[in-house]
């Protein structure tokens, strides 16, 4: 565990050195400028739109970091040939890989935490600036803590994307890894269609294949409760628990597959 921790801390430090956290500035500028600009364009829907924009940005910035940093975690060490030095140390390959994963996961969690704080700060400001009669018409306060449920599922989704990016990076080039990760993420939003595919085609084999893919491909749509959170719609704890369990188990599965592939990889 200590070795994993060391690698993770190094990955985090490296991401700070690589100015990854600069995205936080972009996020803050985006939210603050949007909160000033959109008031006139939205017929009084500025708070709703800031909520949507904030949650979507947290998700999108995290997604870009997860994919584009995730695919380089192993590849960079191989490209710089530092992998030989690293693996010559008293460190097992799985510890190296899991350390890399935990480092990026730490970066993402800190990123999301800071973005969430900035998000709530902007909303608190907007709430304070809004007259009581307008606030009375909102379905929930601007700083509704229920939105944290959506943030929690975004974090889980990002952890899964990171695991998938790391998995692909153990055996393919960064470009291909990015494409494959992106493809899995996109397909993961069409799961419902895959399940219902059988109803629209006559071939039972094709329907069975589609249904099989439905069960195997990660269901990313399940992690998206942003809409419900913004509109203060109920999100059952059972749903949150099931989705979280699904996410954790899927991450473990992908990481295990990545460890197996990485352990068998020949670096000569």
């Amino acid at each position: 565990m200590r070795v994993i921790g060391h690698v993770a801390v190094n990955v985090f430090k490296e991401s700070v050195r690589d100015k990854i956290l600069y995205n936080l500035v972009v996020f803050a500028v985006l939210l603050i400028s949007a909160s000033y600009l959109i008031g006139e364009l939205t017929a009084g829907q500025d708070v709703k739109i800031i909520k949507d924009l904030g949650l979507a940005s947290i998700s999108l910035f995290g997604l870009l970091i997860a994919i584009f940093i995730g695919i380089g975690l192993v590849w960079k060490e191989v490209e710089k040939r530092s992998i030989y030095t690293l693996l010559a140390k008293p460190m097992r390959r799985q510890e190296f890989l899991l350390g890399k994963y935990c480092g990026l996961a730490l970066t993402l969690v800190i990123n999301v935490a800071v973005m969430t704080l900035a998000f709530y700060a902007v909303l608190a400001y907007m709430q304070a600036e809004t007259p009581d009669n307008i606030r009375a018409a909102w379905p929930a306060p601007a700083t509704d803590p229920a939105m944290l449920k959506a943030v929690a599922l975004i974090v889980l989704e990002l952890l899964l994307v990171t695991a998938i990016a790391l998995f692909f990076s153990t055996f393919s080039s960064p470009f291909l890894s990015a494409m494959l990760t992106m493809a899995v993420w996109v397909i993961g939003h069409f799961n419902q269609d895959l399940r219902d595919y059988g109803a629209t085609i006559s071939s039972p084999v094709a329907a069975a294949v589609a249904r099989g893919v439905y069960y195997v491909v990660p269901n990313f749509a399940a992690f998206d409760v942003k809409l419900q959170a913004v509109h203060a719609q109920p999100i059952a704890l059972r749903y949150l628990a099931l989705t979280s369990l699904y996410g954790v188990i899927y991450v473990a599965l992908v990481l295990l597959a990545a460890v197996i592939i990485f352990s068998r990889r020949d670096f000569k």
Binding site: G44, Q45, I134, K226, Q228, H231
Partner: protein, 299 residues
């Protein structure tokens, strides 16, 4: 490597040239399209496709379509083009509400944009009803949407039976306010009279969550006050005729006879106009309260 000073100069010159040419081009007449051809473009019209393409960003995509809806409505309303069209208003609202089925304001304001008479709105109460019914499908217990439906039937279609039915349905929903049930009863019994209109607009003004909607309700209430004012002044004209046997030739006759202290103004502050040949009282054509509701524009 040091950058040659000429390179910097060239960069600045090219920037200036691009900006200058753009400024020049903006003064040119646009190439334009033949009259009657809509310039309103909507690349995506299928709500199903939009939902798929938005991936996990449905709400944000809905917001973008909503901003475009507001811009389209506002821009068209303010346009002086005689052929102006609200032709993409309903598809935009359909996309917005398909991407975000809980976007209440898109249903509520959207129905107002659609139902308002052309050229102030699309003049399509049928589409306003369709968008509100879509909202009720997504949120069957949203009394505000049922009330809006009643309002469209009441104000734009003068269909008081259906209006009362929707007010009653709204009253049956959870969290519905107490005033809906009496409004339904009044609408059914005396649809189109000023009492029910006043109740409706007073509640809209009280509960409006946007300034422009509150302003519109206040405007309608002023119109109702103006109509009450006209009735009152016409009753005075009638009393004058009963006493003198002739109609007053101007406001001065009524003031001299002690019926009025001065020229009566409408609620917007513009004096009423007296027709000496018929004794009827109307709004001044310059009044901001024109046109008042009538048979074509019911209460």
């Amino acid at each position: 490597m040091k950058v040659h000073p000429l390179a910097w100069a060239a960069l600045v010159a090219l920037c200036a040239a691009v900006i200058g040419l753009q400024a020049l081009q903006s003064r040119e007449q646009p190439l334009g399209l033949p009259a009657g051809v809509s310039t309103n473009l909507l690349y995506v019209r299928s709500p199903g496709f939009a939902r798929h393409a938005a991936l996990s960003f449905h709400a944000l995509a809905a917001d973008l379509y909503w901003i475009r809806t507001v811009q389209h409505y506002g821009g068209t309303k303010l346009s002086t083009d005689v052929n102006k069209q609200y032709d993409i208003l309903y598809p935009l609202l359909d996309l917005t509400t398909s991407l975000d089925p809980y976007f209440d304001v898109a249903y509520k304001f959207g129905s107002v944009f659609l139902a308002e008479e052309y050229p102030s709105g699309a003049g399509r109460p049928d589409q306003a009803i369709a968008i509100l019914k879509k909202g009720l499908q997504a949120q069957p217990d949203k009394w505000e949407l049922a009330q809006e439906l009643g309002f469209v039937y009441y104000w734009w279609l003068a269909d008081y039976d259906d209006a009362a039915m929707w007010f009653n349905r709204a009253a049956d929903m959870t969290k519905a306010p107490d005033w809906l049930r009496p409004l339904a009863a009044v609408t059914l019994a005396q649809g189109g009279n000023r009492t029910s209109s006043r109740t409706l607009w007073t509640e809209i003004a009280r509960s409006a969550d946007a300034d422009w909607l509150r302003d519109q309700a206040t405007f309608r209430l002023k119109q109702l006050d103006a109509m009450d004012g006209i009735d009152f002044v016409e009753s005075i004209v009638e009393r004058y005729r009963a006493r003198t046997g002739t109609l007053p030739s101007s406001w001065t006759d009524l003031i001299r006879a002690g019926f009025l202290r001065g020229v009566p103004p409408d609620p917007a502050g513009t004096p009423f106009v007296l027709d000496p040949s018929t004794g009827t009282v109307t709004l001044d054509p310059a009044s901001s309260l024109n046109p008042l509701p009538n048979r074509e524009h019911p209460l």
